[in-house]
Symmetry: C2
Subunit: 412 residues, 2 copies
């Protein structure tokens, strides 16, 4: 949680942190600011002190709304630095950074760096800044960063915000189910009132609309993939495809709060009208692993143990997995879950590279999402829910929705 | 334009480029891939050769849709590198990068780096990679990058896509005007059919909805700010504010194609019912500069000359400007415009730091957006249109919308 940051910094021998980039859709910045229309800002925090948010003049009100101590970029007299640097813009902005560090009392030591920004700008400014401040080391943490570690456990307010996103998400998933089953069927495909076939593109447009109606945003799009496409985990689906009966549809939806806040993540697999035997059999295998995983989740347990367990179960049911063959593209090909928060994928991790710190610590919000994929057989099944490990030790899905495979259609 | 990239690389003594980050909402990656659900990808291009897109296995279909040569990350046997690196994840991923560079024939030289990615990951991987490949320099360009220079001029297809975004934008602005004027007025504020006051938050919800109905996305939100808030250029407006007659409303809307494509940018200033004299006078000054700028735009002209001209005109009308006082927070406080494309703000630049290359070259798409701001007087006015300098030399607004200040209201 955010309150752990100073301790985490200390444990990694970091004297402070620097966060760069915009105020929206930038998890590191959002974590401290709560969002806001900041085109580009600089947040610096010395370990043990409050952060300072440096913003552009035109955005002084947006910066003030964050409640953080702020300072206007205009106070740093960029033009003077530019003169000192003989008109070199990069040197001038590096000097502004040095001044900001100095203002919060950082002149040397190790500072962790975070925030979404163009890699070229990062490389340019950090290289220039390192030359200006040889006693300071800008530390790029990889994988298991202080911020991701802090973010991995949520406080009660964060959990409630993710649950609210879950309620919006399940409401929309229900609307999509109702919408699909309200259609007529002709020659095995869904037909609109005007007599033409419904397409995946039209379904996705409705999803976007219904999400916005609930005041949430869908920046990453939706996976709504049928048949062969359902057999490739991240195929988003072909907009011109028709909705055919008896084919698996993988519907994975992961909207966030408007302005780049907390995500929710849910997947259902549907067959319209009926499920052929091979789809049903695959579904039963996935459901069995889903139910087993849910039952076994336990406070403080190691995440990668659940991945191993899921692989063992799938292998026992005759499926290849990335455990038996790391290169496989059929069977069970991904990890059992991931943390969800300001990032759609964050710590804890469930894959084989997961760390000792990737555990079901109270406050963790994760997905559980077993799946099986056979693109050449035109089949894919995934079931995913977002689960909270409560501070009271209770573990459960944040927003329930039926797991049914078949969406019954009316007679054509 | 994209076809200029090899020449631009050569002019800057760069042997290639590296683009990192996701496929969506990542202009550098989108420029080459056209979007797609790529969680994280690596694109490498040697000067004079085609780019290579390295993607995760689960996203092989999304990668294939880009039409680029692709390679599956699974081919790089990360696990072997991890063993070689004694379990050090960062060293392993740096070795994968080295292998990718080697595959496209880059073993040394200077490579420009681009793409939205967490600054810590950038710092970590690039530092590790530089140690592994001492003969290679990862060049962070600042400000005037190869990609921003290429992107600054659009081909005909790009221009038509921005125009289509403009038509969606102006349609929604028209809907907002109709929506506002359809309300009753009571005690100087807009009242909904249920008898309660309309709020800015509700107007913004409608804007998001109407944008999605037209199949476009609004990742950065909307500025809809009234009174004092209108006097601070990037205040987005207070959701609980009522819509009062006779106050300036700055309405700045900047949606993009769904999936992180091309933006459009437009601002109108409205007074509901009537304009008080001070608002009208400010509006007339802004309109005069808008009209003067539009009239003077000329192929190949230097952008910063228009900023100077706008400052001179505003000063002639008695307003402080950032030319007369760089620290001013009242009067004319920003630059006259900016390029628009896959970035909402891109080259060419109009501010005093603009370069010789910031010109109205054919293919450039820019905003023209003079404004005046007096927050303590509760006043702000900005008028903005997106303008294309055509390849035929014609210069004009891409999607027209009336510039009127007053939205007439029906009698209460």
């Amino acid at each position: 949680m955010k309150k752990d940051i100073d301790q985490l910094l200390e444990s990694r021998n970091l004297d402070g942190l620097l966060i760069v980039g915009p105020g929206q859709h930038n998890p590191a910045m959002y974590y401290f600011t709560g969002g806001g229309h900041l085109t580009s800002a600089i947040l610096v925090k010395k370990r043990g002190s409050e952060p300072l948010l440096v913003h552009y003049s035109m955005e002084r009100d947006e910066a003030a709304k964050t409640g953080l101590p702020t300072r206007d970029m205009a106070d740093y007299s960029y033009d003077d630095y530019l003169k000192q640097a003989n008109g070199d813009y990069l040197q001038a902005i590096a000097r502004v950074h040095r001044q900001i560090f100095s203002d919060v009392g950082i002149d040397s030591g190790r500072v962790g760096v975070y925030g979404k920004q163009d890699a070229g700008i990062t490389q340019a400014i950090f290289t220039a800044l390192q030359s200006l401040m040889p006693d300071l080391t800008l530390v790029g943490e990889y994988n298991d960063t202080v911020l991701l570690q802090a973010m991995s456990t949520k406080d009660t307010e964060e959990i409630e915000r993710i649950r609210a996103m879950g309620l919006a998400t399940t409401a929309v998933v229900g609307q999509v189910a109702d919408f699909l089953t309200s259609h007529r069927v002709k020659d095995g495909i869904l037909i609109k009132p005007d007599g033409t076939p419904l397409t995946i593109g039209e379904v996705k447009r409705r999803i976007d609309l219904w999400l916005v109606e609930r005041g949430v945003e869908n920046p990453e799009g939706t996976i709504f993939a049928i048949g062969r496409d359902a057999g490739i985990p991240h195929s988003t689906g072909n907009p011109s495809d028709y909705l055919s009966l008896g084919k698996t549809i993988v519907f994975d939806i992961y909207p966030c709060e408007t302005g780049g806040g907390y995500f929710y993540d849910l997947t259902r697999t549907w067959c319209l009208g009926y499920a052929p035997d091979d789809a049903l059999s695959l579904y039963e295998d996935v459901l069995a692993v889903y139910q087993d995983s849910m039952r076994e989740l336990e406070v403080d347990a190691l995440c990668k143990d659940f991945q191993k367990r899921a692989c063992d179960l799938f292998e026992g049911r005759g499926h290849p997995t990335i455990q038996s063959n790391p290169q496989t593209q059929v069977g069970y090909v991904h990890s059992l879950g991931h943390g969800v928060g300001l990032n759609i994928h964050e710590k804890p991790s469930f894959n084989k590279y997961a760390l000792e710190s990737d555990r079901l610590t109270p406050g963790v919000v994760i997905t559980v999402e077993p799946g099986l994929y056979y693109p050449e057989r035109g089949l894919g099944v995934r079931l995913e829910d977002t689960v909270c490990v409560g501070h009271d030790g209770q573990i459960g899905v944040l927003a329930e929705f039926p797991l049914d495979l078949v969406l019954p259609m009316k007679e054509g």
